[in-house]
Symmetry: C2
Subunit: 355 residues, 2 copies
């Protein structure tokens, strides 16, 4: 039976790295005899918005809900559509409507990649950020008052529910359970953000009781970002709210050399709705159209998708191929951000061949 | 006429670094003929809380408002008092009641300090974080509902006012104006936090019109933290909301080697109320009582205080003395965090002697 994959490339370099993601997936499917069926959608891009006045057609939910997974590029082009409109109109809708309440992002220093941190080598940095993906600081509640006057105020509410917090914590604890170091770090800011964050801490403490084998610690987000730079080796599984997880899962990959290679999975663990797999990087309008974007984030996201669909071995083979090509360090093949002179296509092809 | 300084050492290493801050200030006052009068207060510590059931006496405002400045150590000891109680009961009260709406934090890679970032040397990192210090994400509005049930939710409101946003932006633009590079970077997250952050962006764009000479850019906070690590040389003046400024002003100093040396000023620019000067680091219960805390953050904060009181030359002399002692790199003098074997006192004395 074919696995049906919905493909949404989006904007900017999203459209450039997507073909390489598919190339690598097709090579893997062939090798491991997996039946993947790709269906491409044009919606979910700023160009679609300019034409239709909305990011998605009204029946997007119906169109997509039957797929086994969504393979997603990158969305946003602020000169065409303000970011909060393009993102709330697409990616954030998928995360919410498909209840993809886990955002999982590995941070791993890969061979051949130079960390910006002094003296760190492959193996030194290897952790996961588990981010709450449906509520918290990314809320749609709030508004503006005294508009246009000196007294103007804007209010936005951070909303956390017990259900929302507990389910992401459970996922993170379960993940820590599978790791050799069995360590979980919680990102908080309960000293300053005095209502939601003490609540987050409370739920962590409560959940920890059910996982006596896990070593739990917590840091306020300010010092935690500092510790990502000073002691990246401290971390194993890091769990944070929507905003804190967002920050940590860009900073973590930056500490491993380039956010161009970092993948992510937006998961609905119950499988009631399709999960969504996308690189961490954005649409990068500044380098779009040049063919120099690094496709590894997209390809690695494809590997996470295969693992999610039950093909762990196939996913691992994709990651191995990425590591092998990076290790070789052929500057004709590698893209600029990882020290080469190659193109999106040269790097994508090299990985696909290796698979 | 004497400048009256209120001294609140607080908790943990606050009580250890404070004497060194005063030692350095007294040496400077002597050399530059400045009349400083220190008055020490016991309140604003967790021990005070344990005795009195509150962090501050009811008349703290009356007691402190006549001082020319507050010289502050560090507060918090979570095992004695939960952080949100100790901090909201002290530091955050001062910031709000004394309308210290600017939190100014220099990030500078000092000689003799090894940056955790590969290949960065003194001169490469030299910027200011200007943080909004009285509103935003650190709000006291919100609450809990369906308490104790499965349906439990907590809500906390981020509140931004035009007055609050504009005045911190104005300060940051004015500061950028005085710097050779005339560059200002705004921290935002308008793609995800869809009400307050687009408003922040709007006000930045509006204010920028009045400063045509300033080069303005903005980054979403996630990629901005990544850029602090990947490209710290890009930044000159970085302005952010209360939370974003908090994060960036721990991360920035971490990129310069140790947050133990970073200073900060909580400023009421109009001089209607006293301003407050404190190290960026916290009370660090884990190393408290050992005499190994680095006093430079406290001493450098003292330098910012002197500059604020009108003695720029004297403040500069303190910073020069810090640089000189760090450059010498005498391991008997330096504290552990900067590669030495010395104590809080040995380092504090060396700096005071140098002054
Ligand atoms: C202690 C805490 C409330 C405080 C803050 O977040 O403002 C501290 O981190 C700081 O940066 O001064
Ligand atoms: C594009 C943006 C809304 C998004 C987010 O903040 O969630 C992105 O930064 C991410 O991390 O997936």
């Amino acid at each position: 039976m074919a696995h049906r994959i919905a493909v949404i490339a989006g904007d900017g370099i999203g459209t450039e790295v997507m073909p390489e993601g598919i190339r690598a997936l097709e090579a893997t499917a062939k090798r491991f005899n997996i039946d993947l069926e790709f269906t491409t959608f044009e919606f979910g891009s700023c160009d679609y918005y300019l034409e239709h006045g909305k990011m998605l057609p009204d029946d997007w939910f119906e169109q997509l809900k039957g797929f086994d997974a969504l393979f997603y590029g990158a969305v946003g082009w602020p000169e065409k559509v303000p970011d909060h409109i393009s993102l709330w109109g697409s990616l954030l809708q998928f995360r919410r409507q498909f209840d993809q309440y886990i955002n999982l992002r590995p941070c791993r220093l890969m061979p051949g990649i130079k960390s910006p941190l002094a003296g760190r080598k492959p193996g030194d940095i290897d952790f996961y950020v588990v981010r709450e993906n449906t509520e918290g600081e990314y809320s749609s509640v709030g508004g503006k008052m005294y508009e246009g006057t000196e007294r103007e105020i804007v209010i936005q509410e951070t909303v956390m529910s017990r259900t929302g917090v507990d389910r992401v914590l459970k996922y993170a604890f379960d993940l820590a359970q599978t790791r050799p170091r069995k360590k979980l770090t919680s990102a908080t800011k309960s000293n300053g953000i005095s209502i939601t964050m003490p609540y987050w801490d409370e739920r962590v403490a409560e959940m920890a009781k059910q996982y006596p084998e896990i070593a739990v610690d917590k840091f306020h987000i300010d010092i935690l970002t500092a510790n990502f730079v000073l002691h990246p080796d401290w971390f194993d599984v890091v769990v944070g709210s929507n905003l804190f997880g967002d920050i940590l899962s860009d900073l973590g990959p930056a500490c491993t050399g380039t956010i161009g290679i970092a993948p992510s999975a937006n998961i609905n663990p119950e499988g009631k709705f399709p999960s969504l797999f996308e690189p961490v990087h954005g649409s990068a309008p500044d380098i779009a159209g040049k063919g120099i974007a690094n496709p590894i984030g997209q390809i690695w996201s494809g590997a996470m998708m295969l693992e999610h669909l039950g093909y762990k071995e196939a996913g691992d083979a994709m990651v191995d191929a990425i590591e092998a090509v990076l290790s070789e360090g052929d500057s004709q093949v590698l893209t600029r951000d990882v020290g080469g002179k190659g193109t999106t296509e040269s790097l994508g092809k090299a990985i696909a061949e290796r698979i």
